[in-house]
Amino acid sequence: MIGLLRVILPVCLLVLATPAWAHSPIMGIGGVFGGMLHALLIPEHGMSLLALGVALGLQQPVASRSGVLIFVAALMGGLVVTAFIAEPALAADILLAATGILGLLIAAAWVPPVVGWVLAAIAGVTFALDSRPEVTSTDEIIRMLIGTGIGAALALALVRGASTFLKGNAARIVMRVLGSWIAAIAIMDLALRIVTRIATG
């Protein structure tokens, strides 16, 4: 019986143990694939791609395609800059603000082409500037940034393509609610970031 307990007790303790994430769940996955995951798995980035994709999906096909191209161009330019400079402090905040505005536009189901294009450009540049990987090797940084560019462009194209199929009243309501949630999350996140920054100096 004692022997049984000696087995059960360590098993109980082992079952209760939770993983210790020293860094990130995708640590160790580098290169182009790591960069692609980096683009998709950071919540702020994923949310910005979702918001921009849905917003562009609400536009007419020509304006929508132009928006994607503007985003990709801005993203590429931003990635080139990111490869050579340190991450600017406000890039994440500006990306979040752009995401919040996109959320509001989705909730209103009103995305004028010019506004969509400007936001696509802002999102592209800030997305890239906020994507500098935390590795020391320049080659690895460049590989990961290439992956980030491919991942972000593909994800945006997929979301935009999928959102153009969302027709009908129910789908429009779901999109409006989604937009309001995106905007609300962005507003709260931004406020928490500002206060945290003030509190921590």
Binding site: M1, I2, L5, R6, I8, L9, C12, L13, L16, T18, P43, E44, M47, L104, A107, N169, I173, R176, V177, G179, S180, W181, A183, A184, I185, A186, I187, M188, D189, L190, A191, L192, R193, I194, V195, T196, A199
Partner: protein
């Protein structure tokens, strides 16, 4: 004989000690590294924050109930207005901007929104939206002022907003019963219960 009895007693004591240890280890809770007053600043912390405040819960459910009761387009406009205004007011609360009468406003929101459902009130859409938005200010500010300054702001915000949305959806789902005569009575009764809970909060009975 006596030594056998002593050995049996010792085994029994070891067994109890072992079982006690196993029980204690099973009961152990996680240690929250980024927390303030035991509140985790992550998705779960954000998700549970609105759910653990009954006064908030009833008001958010009432928004969904009233939206379902009013029908299209109120069924989606009210649940869109509420989180947006709540987030803006929450941001002001986080930033430390004072707002007087927050608790009274929250209790009044349950009374007013529950009362609207109970009395089957059907005001113009803009009146309903303004009313819901006005009460969302109090809820948002209260949540914002309580939020701990911490690490994973995006996960916390996502959990918070999704939980709020889910409470609206649960209200809408229950409010959908109003398509049937018996369901209509049940929905109006639920509105009355929410209003009574609001009165209880207003009178500090809860």
């Amino acid at each position: 004989m006596a030594s056998a009895a002593v050995s049996k007693r010792s085994t029994s004591r070891s067994l109890r000690f072992g079982l006690l240890l196993a029980l204690l280890s099973v009961m152990a809770g996680p240690a929250l590294a980024h927390s303030e007053n035991g509140v985790a600043i992550d998705f779960v912390g954000g998700f549970t924050h609105p759910i653990f405040g009954p006064d908030h819960v009833v008001a958010m459910v009432a928004v969904g109930l009233w939206g379902a009761f009013l029908g299209i387009p109120a069924i989606w406009i009210l649940p869109v207005v509420f989180p947006l205004v709540m987030a803006i007011a929450g941001a002001l609360g986080v930033l430390g901007m004072p707002l007087p009468g927050v608790e009274t406003g929250i209790a009044l929101s349950a009374i007013a929104l529950g009362g609207m459902v109970a009395f089957a009130a059907k005001p113009p859409l803009w009146v309903a939206a303004v009313l819901v938005g006005a009460f969302a200010v109090f809820h948002g500010h209260a949540h914002g002022a309580e939020l701990p300054v911490g690490a994973d702001a995006i996960a916390y915000s996502m959990g918070f907003v999704i939980a709020t949305g889910m409470l609206h959806v649960s209200g809408i789902a229950f409010g959908a019963l109003s398509h049937w005569p018996a369901g209509r009575i049940a929905v109006r009764a639920a509105g009355a219960v929410i209003a009574v809970i609001g009165f209880a909060y207003l009178g500090h009975f809860i």
